[in-house]
């Protein structure tokens, strides 16, 4: 039996995983990162748009600070997020971006003087201040009050990931590539590491650690059309679920991005609209202002995706052999801007559509994009039910996004969570010496080995590729942008059947080493279980919140549903997850539930909302001299590691 021991095991080599590893290593703990592929190929590299941090250096970001960022994030989440975590996040994001600047990310910078930008379809000249010259600049993104999304031309994710991986290499952190975690090792509510399959030799290896962090990214591939990478299959979340102890949070919260190209679903960044691009219908008509006169194309993602779908349902879509779509027009931005700041978009249009977006419209439609749900953790990043198990990044439900995440807040989450959770991982390593019986390791090893032998031994059975296709289609058709009881109930039933069938997979190519069919056979049953969590959670949640839009329950219902869905999968023999709920306490909220400001507000309010609003007024009145920091401490005292407590400096206002 091959066993590898380490202090801190990190499953996933994207931005979040690498940052956790760096934090633990810098505190002196041995860290090993596992990845399906070389870390630099992780899906974080695909983020073209940028990272939100309230630096406020560009003139269009003036007046920005942590509080404004907090407000946008909580509103964006449709009050579904954990406000403590959102607070920790917004306060730390400026530090995270500054650290990355010191480590080598070539963030685009403010250039003094006039520049021409497109706002609301018009060319406008803005003047950047002399004293801001050379500081990190920002662009506009959906759902934000200020221009807050920092970027590197068109390659924010790429430069961030390369910087992070290079830093890990500098620190000598080992990344074990082409290794797939297929089960967690655990006993009595404590996690001891993972059983890992070598994707080249097929060998099973036990990685045993004091702390195990799941940073495996999103689960977009539960859907047939998604912007996500082909490896975004949610296996990290699934192995947490399969412990029967760890919980997953808000799995039904799935985001659709307004502008992926048709038919293949490759993303064109929100930067297109942030920089002034427009959405047009089959008549070339700009329809968003009719629906959302305030934010128009730059309303929150979930809102824009729904409005687009509504508009297409009115017959205004452009018909094509792949179904209806709409147009994204960036021609008005001009060649120079597109070739510098949206070059990746231009390449994608050229290679995959054969069009030049400088001159032609881009066919787009809302497409699965982001998984708000994931491994449920507390603010320290540790599972609430399993000790020694941590999670960060898109794989987690740390829960700063609630039911809808803002563009630019995700890569920001990966690095901020990496910093914060990484410190708690190191604390955990400090306080918990490794005590484990090798019999326990052997038990999990044998179990996984047996499962694989069974797969390889079965003569006849289901085809894993077909099962996956069927699952993806069910999710797309019945658990999509708009949801209703009939579709969801059908999805739940159909997935149950798939789940049964997935217990009888047989392979054509029966070898245990490097074998894509075997990889699929191991993953598909796990994916189906995750899909069941999404569909079942969605069916039970009888309200609309953020990206979860029920046609039969169109109102946000704080009275009954201001709570987080938790799913567990207790036994192998179950054919549905167990669902329970975690209440969000209005009386502790820094920002009590209100209106997001889109469409008509038909919220059913929580009885405590008014009480809390009054209480906050009282607190404010009682402390007339308190500055914004003191007020925040009064309303929402948060814990972050000491090193991240300082106030953030901004140009023109110091540390105020």
């Amino acid at each position: 039996m091959k066993i590898v021991y380490t202090d801190s095991l990190i499953i996933g080599g994207g931005l979040a995983g690498l940052r956790v590893a760096i934090a633990a290593k810098q505190r002196g703990y041995d860290s090993i990162v596992l990845s399906l592929m070389p870390a630099k190929r992780s899906h974080s590299a695909a983020a073209q748009g940028g990272m939100q941090a309230s630096l406020g250096a560009s003139v269009k970001g003036e007046g920005d600070n942590e509080d404004v960022h907090f407000e946008d994030t909580v509103k964006g989440s449709d009050w579904g997020c954990d406000q403590d975590v959102a607070r920790m996040f917004v306060n730390t994001a400026p530090k995270a971006i500054r650290q990355l600047a010191a480590w080598g990310v070539p963030w685009s910078r403010v250039r003094r003087g006039n520049r021409e930008v497109v706002i609301n379809g018009e060319k406008v000249t803005i003047t950047e201040k002399n004293e801001a010259h050379g500081l990190i600049t920002a662009r506009d993104f959906g759902g934000t009050k200020k221009w807050r999304t920092c970027y590197t031309s068109d390659g924010a994710g790429h430069t961030m990931l390369y910087c992070m991986d290079n830093k890990a290499i500098q620190l000598g952190i080992q990344v074990h590539e082409r290794k797939e975690a297929i089960a967690l090792i655990h006993e009595d509510g404590v996690c001891y590491g993972a059983i890992v399959r070598d994707l080249i030799t097929g060998e099973l290896i036990a990685y045993v650690a004091k702390a195990t962090t799941i940073a495996t990214g999103g689960y977009g591939r539960l859907y047939s059309v998604t912007t996500n990478a082909v490896i975004s299959e949610g296996i990290g979340c699934a192995i947490a679920l399969e412990t029967g102890v760890a919980t997953l949070g808000n799995m039904e919260a799935v985001q659709f991005h307004p502008t992926a190209i048709v038919p293949v679903g490759i993303l064109t960044t929100e930067g297109c609209r942030g920089d002034g691009g427009l959405l047009l219908d089959k008549d070339g008509y700009r329809f968003m202002p009719d629906y959302e006169p305030g934010k128009k194309e730059l309303a929150s993602r979930d809102v824009v995706s729904r409005r687009m779908t509504e508009h297409m349902r009115k017959g205004k879509g452009v018909p094509s052999r792949y179904g209806d779509h709409l147009w994204l027009d960036i021609t008005l931005l001009g060649r120079k801007h597109i070739e510098r700041n949206l070059r990746e978009v231009k390449e994608i249009c050229e290679y995959f559509l054969g069009i030049d977006p400088v001159e032609e419209y881009i066919p787009v439609r809302p497409t699965q994009h982001y998984s708000m749900g994931g491994v449920r953790t507390g603010p320290t990043g540790e599972s609430q039910t399993m000790k020694g198990l941590f999670s960060a990044g898109e794989a987690s439900c740390w829960d700063m996004h609630g039911f809808n995440r803002l563009g630019g807040n995700s890569v920001a989450e990966t690095v901020v969570a990496g910093m914060i959770v990484g410190e708690y991982v190191a604390d955990h390593c400090a306080g918990n010496p490794l005590k484990i019986d090798t019999k326990l390791i052997g038990h999990f090893m044998d179990r996984e080995d047996r499962k694989i032998s069974n797969l390889l031994g079965r003569d006849k059975g289901e085809n894993p590729f077909e099962l996956k296709k069927e699952m993806q289609q069910i999710m797309m058709d019945k658990v999509g942008i708009f949801r209703n009881e009939t579709d969801l109930a059908q999805a739940v039933e159909e997935l149950k059947v798939l789940h049964q069938r997935s217990k009888n997979i047989a392979l054509k190519h029966r070898i245990s080493s490097s074998n894509p069919e075997l990889v699929e056979a191991i993953r598909v049953p796990k994916m189906i279980r995750l899909a069941q969590c999404v569909a079942y959670g969605a069916m039970l949640r009888k309200e609309s919140r953020g990206a979860h839009a029920r046609e039969d329950y169109p109102e946000r219902n704080d009275r009954d549903w201001l709570k987080r869905t938790l799913t567990t999968w207790k036994s192998e023999d179950d054919d549905l997850p167990e669902v329970s709920y975690e209440e969000l306490d209005v009386m502790k909220m820094e920002m009590p539930p209100g209106s997001r400001g889109y469409g008509v507000d038909n919220t059913i309010h929580h009885p405590n909302t008014e009480k809390r609003v009054a209480e906050i007024e009282e607190i404010e009145k009682a402390h007339p001299d308190a500055d914004r920091f003191e007020l925040q401490q009064l309303l929402n005292p948060i814990n972050v590691p000491d090193k991240f407590r300082g106030k953030n400096e901004r140009i023109g206002r110091g540390y105020k």
Binding site: Q26, M37, P38, K40, R41, H43, A45, A46, K95, I97, R98, Q99, A101, A102, W103, G104, P106, S108, R109, R111, H133, G134, T152, S153, G155, H158, T159, D165, N166, K167, I169, Q170, V175, E177, R178, I200, T201, A229, V230, P263, V264, I266, E344, I348, Y351, F352, L353, G354, F465, K508, H509, S513, S514, P516, E517, E520, F644, K647, N648, E649
Partner: protein
């Protein structure tokens, strides 16, 4: 997008070194072309419907991550963004990228090699203060043009096309090759990196480095990200020649 329906013929090198006694053979698969079909779509179709053992690597399938380089009708390129309609006779020959350890069929182990390069050129900011920066304070300023220039050289996706196209690399195993030069050039123009030209010389000032390059520019021709190899190699040479 071409609308005609044709049957494509894929000729693919099949070889699994994990299986004892396996020998490399070319196998042919027929696939019905669909509009907008890429090699990514076609290969998955083959795997799902004809041969589930076929190995290849795709991740982003959008030309961003650099996983899918292979030799397509004689040219190294990213398979995910190569449309099948590009090939008028419908014959497509696929070979794994040479110069890398073969995992199986079209899958090669680029990761180990790439990490080796990063370690060799010490692909990170050399500044003893980088870890002690006061994160609360305004960041160090940078000229906006310099930031843009650094980004231009950092766009490499480590796909390995330049490595497979380099004649010098074929003759000299330890040759750093174009993407290594590009990485070094990226740090050499970065004001945050405090290394001197002498220190860079230690890394690339020999025949395994920039003086071994024959400037035949296979790298420039095949780089899917159109990185400016020609100008960077020339400028590194000039800079290094001045050191000694």
């Amino acid at each position: 997008m071409s609308e005609q329906e044709r049957v494509l013929k894929f000729h693919i090198l099949r070889y699994n070194p994990q299986i004892k006694g396996d020998i490399p053979t070319m196998k042919t698969y027929e696939v019905e072309e669909a509009p907008g079909m890429t090699i990514f779509i076609a290969l998955n179709d083959i795997r799902e419907k004809q041969d589930p053992s076929l190995q290849f690597d795709f991740i982003c399938r959008a030309g961003i991550c650099g996983s899918c380089a292979m030799i397509i009708n004689g040219r190294p390129d990213l398979a995910c963004r190569t449309l099948t309609s590009k090939f008028p006779d419908g014959e497509i020959k696929l070979l794994p990228l040479p110069g890398f350890e073969l995992i199986g069929d079209l899958s090669v182990n680029t990761g180990k090699f790439m990490r080796g390069m990063s370690e060799r050129v010490e692909s990170w900011i050399h500044d003893e203060h980088a870890d002690n920066v006061d994160l609360d304070r305004l960041e160090e300023r940078m000229d906006p043009d310099v930031a843009d220039e650094i980004y231009e050289l950092e766009r490499c996706v480590e796909c390995g096309c330049c490595v497979s196209a380099c004649a010098t690399k074929r003759m000299r195993e330890g040759f750093l090759t174009a993407f290594g030069f590009m990485r070094l050039a990226r740090y050499a123009i970065d004001p945050r990196d405090k290394r001197s030209d002498e220190e860079f010389y230690e890394i690339i000032g020999d025949d395994e480095g920039v003086f071994g390059c024959m400037t035949l520019l296979g790298c420039q021709d095949y780089c899917p990200k159109d990185l400016p190899h020609q100008t960077q190699i020339a400028s590194l040479r000039r800079r290094m020649a001045r050191v000694r």
